[in-house]
Amino acid sequence: MLEVRSVTAGYGAFTALWDVSLSVAAGEAVAVVGPNGAGKTTLLRVLSGLLPARAGHLSLDGISLTGRPAHEVVGHGIAHVPEGRRIFPALTVADNLRMGAYLPAARRRFAESLAGVYALFPVLAERRRQRAGSLSGGEQQMLAIGRALMSRPKLILLDEPSMGLAPVMVLRLFDLIRRVRGEGYTILVVEQNVRQVLKIVDRAYLLEVGRIKREGRAAELAEDEFVRKSYVGL
């Protein structure tokens, strides 16, 4: 479904990604893991259109998205849950979700989507009138994911969802991601928490200093010497 070919991108004089290629098939859950500063967030920003690539191509279901701005990309079915959640703190939970359905197509099916999100994340339903900024980290993450779901995407990009969350929350979060995936969504998740994320995805890529160093099925990667050496906890 998602094809990324030879993408190079960066900021100013600094290049963060070098000749990166990956793919995600429909219904798959894929992870991109790597240390801090590897370029994972840059990758997602290129995919969602927040950052233009300097070279390379990306396409979704055959439609080229190279160079398209963010607000167009989401219209083609890619929803990006940004690093740090980026929910609208002064808006209520309900309003945040409403903003997720900004696109006309999404707005038409708003009630249906909302019901689905509340079913998946009951705590959001409880707190629907609460100011989003007053939610806990884990709740905000759920809200961010729920907001992404409101646009009825084909592909969901998750940027470091476990960041800043307590270990208990992290487990619950990955369980939730698994459930979202179970609803039929295709997922590309970027994570530093290698151990946890490899448990819930089908395949994974290892990104280091802007280049793909390893790729393969999740189970294989979890056993891989290189990966195990670099990441404590495996």
């Binding site: 701005p69 808006l91 903003m99 900024g133 907001r147």
Partner: protein, 287 residues
């Protein structure tokens, strides 16, 4: 010592003035909150709309029609300013943006001088004055106040209850995140500029009740409006609302105790002092 009845009257007048100042401040703040640029030229747009009403009136238009025209003109001016001047410099350093709107201020003020001379123009209203407990309340002050309150209420409902309004608030909080929702930033900016301009037009319609218009009208209310916005916290709507009344009360009461100019001086000094104590404004912007 001054007769306390004058003080009470000044306080009441302060409230009535505050309503219109709040309208101005909210319009300016809306634009800043979303686009992150202070339109120094804002009150001059009000001035242009006031001239429009004056000339419409001279040509025999009924006032309500002229006012409607002014509101529409304001919206158009808002869009024009954004598309022609702001849009090209969105990425420029803030000072360039400030100066660009300042240059526009110069342009509009001078062009108005050229077109219409520095003569003061006013629209005469034959409206009654009410007396309540020794205080005189002219309808020319009550009506604009009432309408401004209604307008602000409408704005509040727009921003909180409608989709477009909520989107505007969302963009003000996180422009990039909103782009990820599918919102074309350009479209949101233009809409915001139109709404801001619309409010300027409405403010103009309300100001003609009490004030005569001349090319340097912006000099009278402009600096005050900016200060109110900054005092309330740039981008903070509630703060601007509160700050408007604080400033208008200071101006009104000090104006009665000393002179009109001193009223402004004291208000401005208060502003400066508060800036030192709370640079973010009395109700600094949430996050």
């Amino acid at each position: 010592m001054i007769d306390p009845i004058f003080l009470v009257e000044a306080a009441v007048n302060g409230v009535l003035l505050g309503g219109i100042l709040a309208l101005l401040a909210l319009g300016l703040n809306l634009i800043f909150g979303v686009i992150d640029i202070v339109w120094i030229v804002y009150v001059d747009l009000v001035m242009v709309c006031m001239y429009a009403i004056y000339f419409a009136h001279v040509h025999g238009w009924p006032f309500w029609l002229a006012a409607l025209g002014a509101v529409g003109l304001g919206a158009l001016l808002g869009i024009a300013v954004h598309v022609l001047v702001i849009s090209p410099i969105l990425g420029s350093p803030p000072i360039n943006q400030l100066l660009a709107t300042g240059g526009l201020l110069f342009f509009i003020q001078s062009f108005a001088t050229f077109l219409w001379t520095t003569d003061h123009r006013s629209v005469r209203f034959a409206l009654p004055t009410f007396e309540v407990g020794g205080i005189f309340l002219p309808a020319t002050r009550l009506i604009p106040f009432g309408i401004s309150i209604l307008a602000m209420l409408a704005l509040y409902l727009f921003l909180t209850r409608t989709f477009a309004g909520t989107a505007i608030r969302a963009v003000a909080q996180d422009r990039e995140a909103m782009a990820l929702m599918g919102a074309n930033p350009r479209r949101v900016y233009v809409t915001t500029s139109a709404v801001g301009g619309l409010m300027a037009g409405l403010a103009g319609a309300l100001l003609v009740f009490q004030y005569s218009v001349h090319p340097f009208f912006g000099g009278q209310f402009g600096p005050l409006t900016f200060m109110i916005c900054v005092l309330g916290g740039l981008g903070n709507m509630v703060g601007a609302f509160v700050a408007s009344f604080i400033m208008s009360e200071i101006i009104s009461i000090a104006g009665v105790l000393w002179s009109t100019e001193m009223g402004y001086v004291i208000a401005f000094v208060v502003f400066i002092v508060v800036m030192f104590i709370r640079p973010g404004g009395i109700l600094a912007r949430p996050e």
